[in-house]
Structures are given as C-alpha cells and as structure tokens.
C-alpha cells in the first residue's frame, strides 16, 4: 500500500474528504447561524477523537471526558471574562474590575487563581496544561494501582460529578450554575460578530484537522499498536518490558488535551462555558458520539459527533422530552447491532464496493497487502 507521509493513501483520502466537508461544503451550504452550530458540534469531536484512542484503541473507558472539555473551556472563558470586566465596563459594581458574578457574591478582589488569566499566553497554556495535568494526576493514581475497566470508568464519572458540584457550589469563584457568560472580546476583537464567528469556525476546523492528523500519527506509531495490545492482553505487554501504567497515562492525558482544546473552542464560538458541559451527562453523551461513529475510527468519531448532534438539534426541537430516551436507545442499538458504528457500516458495505470500483477503473492499484502491514 502506498503511503503519504505517515498516512495510508486511504486515510489521506478520508482526511481530505473530511477537510472538504468542513472547510468548503458546510461553510458554503449553511448560514452563519447553522455554521456556528456545526462549529459547536465539531468542538465535541475533539473529545470523540480522544476517546477513539483512549477507549477504542486503549480499552480505557472514561466517563468523565466532560471535565477536560470543561476545564479547557473554563480556562478560555476566564480570560475572556476578565477582558470583559475592565474597570470601565464594570464601573457600576461595588468592586469594579472583577467579573460581575464575583461582585454579586460579595467578593471584593480577584481570587489568586484568576490572576494568570489576565494574560492570553498564560491562558492558552492553561487551556491545555491544566486539564492534562489533572488527567496525569488521575491517570498516575489509578493506573499505577492497576485500577482499570469498569472501576476506572466509575471513578472518572465520580470525579466529573465532584467537579461539577464544586463549580456549581463555588459561585463566587466560578460563576456557579450559570457558568461564565457574557463574553465579548478577545484582545479587543469582538467574537460575537458574524465575521468573528466565521473566523473562529475556520480556526476550529483547522485545529480539528490537526487533531485528526495527530491521532493518526499516534495510531500508526508503535505506541498505537501497544494500545491495542494492552486492550487485548495487558499482562503480555507488561511482560514484554513495558510500563503499562505509563502508556495508559499518556493516552489518557492526550485525550484530555484534545478535549480541552475542544472546550476552549466551544467557549470562543458559543460565547460562554457552564457546568452543564462538565458533568456526567455530557461526558456520557460524548462516549455515545464516539460509539455511534465507531470507537475504532478517528474519522468515524467526527461524523458520529456531527450526526448525533444534528439529530439532537432537530429532534429536540420537536420532542425535547424524548431526546434522552432516543439517545439511550441509539446507544443500545449501536452497541448491540453495530459495535463498530458508522465506520463499521461503511467498512462492511460501502468500502468494498468502492475499492472494487476503483480497481476496475485503475487495475494497477489493486495490489496485495505487503508483509507486516497493520491489520486494520
């Protein structure tokens, strides 16, 4: 099989098609309101891609990815909130210059952990670093003690719940249940205008494609195969000389970092961040996006995310109370009937026909797989 850089030709084609869809088709086909919505969905795809590596390949199911999405989103929101809370803009408050919700909660000075978020650079560093460090702590604590499987899933869920409770409870420091709202400008650039929304959409799309490429890079590396090997036979990997805990921690951190970038882009495009993106429900929804797309497929995860969210939006407009049921049903259906999700359906039905077609068109292409080519 031919390769383009570290990608197989078929993978490069897949990425190109996705790029065409999100960089050309969607922007041309959708008005800015819908495009902004699509951009929002695509921020969840960062989480789904992380889950493909962590859960699909590594077998580590996290039911708490919302915390990393949220932490990334909050880091971004804190910067934007501080910029929106200049002394002039907040001069009617009893303490001007601090975010409005702090003032409402009788805070008279900016808490110490808010201070770094005056700087955009530090904030961007925090977007990635804080969630990743948090994942590192959880990962080291759990994986070194050989906590895995269902126990790990439950613990991540519990941590996500605790984080939500903390955010909601510490209203004066976090904005509480409402989250951090009323975000306006980024270094003076108004992010609420249509033009800004276009720009942010494209930035997000570009970052997502980079995340896809990074995920492919990890997957084609030996590390990617070690993940699969760990999922299959953890002990065999351990007794082949690998420190299994380190590999698990790495992929968990990577998934967290990707989620965090998605969260920050969410804040920028949607204009707020709240605890409703941190807790158990959003975390599980993101697992469902991944399952629907196919938990082994990086591109499938992106399409799964788009599809489920599109369905959610259309469906919950007409039958809001039925949506959660529908989502649960969808998950069960996927797990039972299509364990490899959309990607599996594609691989079973469309791909063979496509390659037959291609082979007929260009007989030279129909080569055999060389020794040592990956199984997938």
């Amino acid at each position: 099989m031919e390769r383009i850089g570290f990608l197989k030709t078929s993978e490069a084609v897949g990425i190109a098609i996705l790029a065409a869809l999100i960089l050309i088709v969607l922007p041309l086909g959708l008005d800015i309101f819908r495009l902004n919505l699509a951009g929002k969905y695509l921020t969840y795809a960062f989480v789904a891609i992380g889950l493909v590596l962590c859960w699909g390949h590594g077998g580590i199911l996290s039911l708490g990815q919302g915390m990393f999405f949220g932490l990334g989103g909050y880091a971004m929101a804190m910067f934007l909130k501080l910029e929106a809370s200049s002394p002039e803009a907040t001069k009617i408050q009893s303490t001007p210059g601090i975010p409005d919700f702090m003032d409402w909660n009788q805070l008279t000075e900016l808490p110490w952990f808010w201070q770094p978020f005056h700087s955009l650079t530090l904030s961007l560093v925090a977007v990635v670093l804080v969630p990743t460090a948090f994942a590192f702590l959880i990962g080291t604590a759990m994986f070194k003690r050989r906590v895995g499987g269902v126990y790990f899933a439950i613990i991540t869920q519990a941590i996500a719940a605790i984080l939500t409770i903390l955010i909601v409870g510490q209203q004066g420091y976090t904005g509480g249940i409402n989250g951090i709202t009323d975000l306006r400008t980024l270094k003076g650039w108004d992010i609420r205008t249509d033009e800004a929304k276009y720009v942010l959409y494209f930035v997000n799309a570009g970052l997502l494609l980079a995340a896809v490429a990074a995920a492919y890079f990890v997957r084609q590396s030996k590390l990617g195969r070690i993940l699969v090997a760990m999922r299959d036979k953890e002990d065999r990997v351990r007794f082949s000389g690998y420190n299994v805990a380190n590999f698990k921690t790495f992929v968990f951190c990577l998934a967290a970092a990707l989620s965090a970038i998605g969260g920050a882009m969410f804040t920028l495009q949607v204009g707020f961040m709240s605890p409703s993106f941190v807790g158990i429900v959003p975390s599980i929804e993101m697992v469902i996006y991944t399952a629907v797309g196919g938990r082994l497929s990086i591109l499938g995860a992106v399409y799964g995310t788009l599809l489920v969210n599109w369905a959610k939006t259309s469906f919950s407009e007409s039958f809001p109370e039925l949506w959660l049921l529908g989502l649960g049903g969808l998950f069960i259906a996927v797990v039972l009937a299509f364990p490899n999700g959309l990607a599996g359906i594609y691989a079973d039905t469309i791909a063979p026909r496509l390659s037959r077609l291609l082979r007929r068109a260009r007989p030279a292409l129909g080569g055999t797989v060389p020794a040592g080519a990956p199984a997938e």
């Binding site: 990890v218 590396s221 030996k222 590390l223 195969r225 070690i226 699969v228 090997a229 999922r231 299959d232 036979k233 002990d235 065999r236 990997v237 351990r238 007794f239 082949s240 000389g241 690998y242 420190n243 380190n246 590999f247 790495f250 797989v369 060389p370 020794a371 040592g372 080519a373 990956p374 199984a375 997938e376």
Partner: protein, 254 residues
Amino acid sequence: MHTIARDAAAPDFLLSVEGLTVSFDGFKAVNDLSFYVDKNEIRVIIGPNGAGKTTVLDLICGRTKATAGSIRFRDIELTRLSENRIVEAGVGRKFQTPSIYEDLTVFENLEISFPRGRSVFGALAFRRDAAVSERIEEIAEMIFLKDHLAERAAFLSHGQKQWLEIGMLLIQDPELLMLDEPVAGMSVAERRKTAELLHKIIVGRSVIVIEHDMKFVEDIAHRVTVLHQGKVLSEGSMERVKNDPKVVEVYLGH
C-alpha cells in the same frame, strides 16, 4: 546431591531461588522453595496440578510478590523489581494459555516485543527499520510462521499461537526463558517441532519449562525438578527422578 554441592559456590548459577514462600490468605502455594538453574540449562518443572509450578514463574517474573525468600538472577535481586525491570534484566516468560495480541498481525505481535522503544516517547518515535524487519523475519522462520507474518494473530491455530508467543520472547532475547506448558493442546507433530525449536533456542540462554507430557520432558530436559505442595519433592536427571519412589507415588504413578 546437586543442591548440597552447589550451595557453597553460588556464582555459577544464572538463577538462584532460596527460601521462596508465597501465601495466599494463609495457604502456602509455594513453601520455602529453593532451586538453582545453570547457564545454558533446560530445566523442566513437573508436578501434579496445583503443585505451585505456575506460581513459581509468577514469582520470578514479578507478577506475584513473594511473602519471603529471595530470587537472584545473575547479581540482581528480582523480588524487589517491577515487572518491566525484570524483563529488562533478561527474563522472559510465556503464559500457560497462549497470550498474544489477537487484533494485531503476526508481524506486529513480534515487533512489539522487539527490545527497543519501550518508553512512551520511544514507542512514538520507533521506526520499523531494516534491522527490525530482518530480526522479525529471522524469528518467524524459526517459529514456523514465516508465511503468516501479515495474518491477524486471531486466525492462527492453537499451536501456532503458542509458537508465536515463544517467538515474541525470543525477539526479546532473554537470558532466562520461562515457558509454562508450551506444548499443551498441541498435536504430536507440533510437539515434535516444538521440541526441535526448544533445542535451537537454548543456545546462549537458560530455559525453565513447565510440562506434563513426560515424553516431551524426556526429550528436552537437562534436569527435572518435581514440585509437590509448593516444595521440591525430587530433583535431578530424568532417569533419577523417574525412579524416585516419592515421585512415582504422587505424580507419575497415576
């Protein structure tokens, strides 16, 4: 006779197990066990089911932590090391049931065991260069799987899976290779090939084999250790062990 003579002159041994004990909730699966393995020796451990054979391997490779006793490999005390350090020290271990990565190809299975790029970032940067491919092909030839390199390991026969796991260990190039029932479930022809394989791989390393098949044991063993209730019941050449009345009573007599 061996044990007495050798206690004084330990430095020759590749592996010295002394006073090894492990207790699971008070039950001593291995009880004050001592034995020594020479360089370039094939040692076979036999014994009835539940004698503690697998547990001994678990202790040596770090899967189970010893309650008491010591395991010295060359000059290294293994009881204090983590599993991956024990592998790095030069100990390889095959599990009782074939333990391979079914979702990966035979080539990839072997590649993961190639002793390079074992850290997280080492694995990310690992390149499949000529040295890797050559070594994998060489080993694949040895374990009779040269024509199956691109195949998914799940599709191999039971015997082939056993060989693949042996191959994964060979590629690690351990000084001490431990095999838990490598011919269990194999056909007669496969057993013969496996014996041939073991004779080939012994060069430059020691092997501990757990086996029930006496025919196979006779074929490969330099010396035999008989375990019973976590203790050494008898030890020595196959000839000697076979004629030991204690061994006949608890094991071979059945």
